[in-house]
């Protein structure tokens, strides 16, 4: 366990170092968030009834910007990716650790460190925004606790999915291309482009059958009170199920990939 903790710490320290990048990211995210808030305001004013309250949409948008590093599926750990591409993976196999858990903790460390670094200024700015664009507090203390719980589970689902993408890269000669094609679709289905409640009903039903609806969608909507209390237990169950399923799939696929690496020498 300690070994994994050390990996986590190393990645965390590396993440802290980018300072200019942090300023840039803050500006980018504030501009993005504000523009989205403004667009939804125009929609709310023009249409009258939106599938989500405007204040809930605003909170959803700011959470999305603040926790981008946690839940996005397109930012891969470039070190891991590089290892797969150039064959340095063989070094990883020499370490007395399970590669799957090692990469998992590494990815988690990278994501959490980056998210902590980035969410504080973004949230601070979001709470200081003028009225209609101001990020709201969680609807209740209970909702906040549930938000934390589902955020952890959502992160688990996200990373388990990313691991699956990493491992799939062993089986293709064009990892970058695959990743791009795959994450492009996932981005949409996880509610990163528009929140899932804005999907037309029949598409919403399809999206909810997929694991991607159990990433950021659940914690964000619990936070802003959009997810009805009655729906929360089944949402959590869904997260647990998909986390287990994706991890299992990842481990099984890894077994196969490992054999390939050993046979082909990376």
């Amino acid at each position: 366990m300690r070994k994994y903790y050390l990996f986590f710490k190393l990645r965390f320290a590396a993440g802290i170092q980018y300072r200019m990048a942090a300023v840039t990211a803050l500006t980018t995210q504030m501009v993005w968030g504000l523009m989205e808030c403004l667009a939804y305001k125009a929609i709310a004013e023009s249409s009258g009834n939106m599938p989500m309250d405007y204040s809930a949409v605003v909170s959803y948008i700011w959470l999305k910007e603040a926790l981008l590093a946690l839940f996005n599926t397109w930012a891969a750990d470039n070190d891991i990716f590089g290892m797969i591409l150039n064959g340095d993976i063989s070094y990883e196999l020499c370490r007395p650790l399970s590669v799957y858990s090692m990469w998992f903790s590494r990815t988690a460390g990278g994501r959490i460190s980056e998210a902590l670094l980035r969410c504080i200024p973004v949230l601070a700015c979001a709470f200081l925004m003028p009225y209609p664009y101001k990020m709201g507090l969680p609807v209740s203390a209970g909702a906040f606790l549930l938000f934390l719980l589902t955020a952890v589970l959502g992160l688990g689902v996200t990373i388990a999915f990313c691991m699956l993408v990493y491992i799939l890269c062993f089986f293709t000669i064009s990892p970058q291309g695959w990743r791009m094609a795959l994450t492009g679709a996932v981005d949409f289905l996880s509610g990163n482009i528009i929140p899932l409640p804005f999907f037309p009903d029949k598409y919403l039903r399809i999206a909810q059958l997929l694991p991607f609806a159990y990433m950021q969608n659940i914690p964000f909507r619990i936070y802003c009170g959009d997810l009805a209390a009655a729906a929360i237990p089944s949402a959590i169950a869904g997260q647990v199920f998909w986390f287990a399923a994706l991890t299992l799939a990842g481990l099984l696929l890894w077994k196969k990939a490992e054999k390939r690496v050993v046979v082909q020498g990376g």
Partner: protein, 274 residues
């Protein structure tokens, strides 16, 4: 061919300290300090000479080369190459010079070498007969027949360097800069590159300026050596003169035959330029 007089060049370099607090400070305010890369550098090179330009890292070698090739403007001093001031009429100047960087490539990675050459032909607007002649000559001398149709990424380092050299000579420059041309090469390729440069000089009277850390390159190619340290020219003469300087300033063990690397180490130490 080349006259360089009292050339000075200094850079402003942002100071950067380690640590988180210093990093935060650097975001708002940066302090600069001036680094004198070149300090009153003067020398002349005659047509057809082969000059080794040596010195420890950070001595000002690459600044000099950049000034000579027209991509850096000095603070003061004059430099005239064949009647041209390099940084003033850059486009005209670069047409007459060739530059080989041992650590960088000018060939396109994924396409056959010959296609890179064809593009270079367009870039320099070389006429077709002239290009064909030169290509044939270079192909012969550097033994490129086998590899011209191969994409660069599949070449060995030695093969690639031979192509790099050829690419820099397609437009028949009168002046050639070689920046560590043999770095990382195997023995055979090193010898091939050196031989080729000597032949080039004999046949076309091409002036060659060579910077390198490999003293055998110098021994094989250069008939004159300029030593630069801390932005100043410290020695200018033949290799033998260099050798004598090293020994006489040193501990006086004249009877011990020194190999060139030791000569250089000795010189750097004595002149205190490391």
């Amino acid at each position: 061919m080349i006259t360089m007089e009292n050339v000075c060049k200094s850079y402003k370099v942002a100071k950067r300290d380690a640590g988180f607090r210093a990093a935060c400070k650097a975001l708002v305010h940066r302090e600069y300090e001036a680094v004198h890369a070149l300090n009153n550098v003067s020398f002349t090179v005659r047509d057809g000479e082969m000059v080794g330009y040596i010195g420890p890292n950070g001595a000002g070698k690459s600044s000099t080369i950049k000034i000579l090739s027209g991509i850096l403007t000095p603070d003061s001093g004059t430099c005239v190459i064949d009647g041209r001031v390099p940084w003033k009429n850059r486009t005209e100047h670069v047409r007459q010079i060739g530059v080989v960087f041992g650590q960088r490539s000018q060939l396109w990675w994924d396409i056959p070498v010959i296609d890179s050459f064809e593009l270079i032909k367009e870039i320099y607007s070389i006429s077709t007969p002239q290009y064909n002649n030169k290509l044939e000559e270079l192909t012969q001398l550097l033994q490129l027949q086998e590899i011209l149709k191969t994409p660069t990424r599949q070449l060995s380092l030695g093969q690639r360097m031979r192509c790099e050299v050829a690419a820099s000579l397609l437009h028949e420059p009168r002046l050639l800069f070689l920046d560590e041309p043999t770095i990382g090469l195997d023995a055979v390729s090193k010898l091939a590159v050196r031989d080729f440069i000597k032949k080039l000089n004999e046949e076309h009277k091409t002036t060659v300026i060579l910077t390198t850390h490999d003293m055998q390159d110098i021994e094989a190619i250069a008939n004159r050596v300029i030593l630069i340290g801390r932005g100043q020219i410290l020695l200018d003469g033949t290799l033998d003169e260099l050798r004598r300087a090293a020994v006489s300033d040193g501990n006086g063990n004249t009877d011990e035959p020194l190999d060139l690397d030791h000569v250089m180490a000795c010189l750097y130490r004595n002149l205190n330029i490391l």
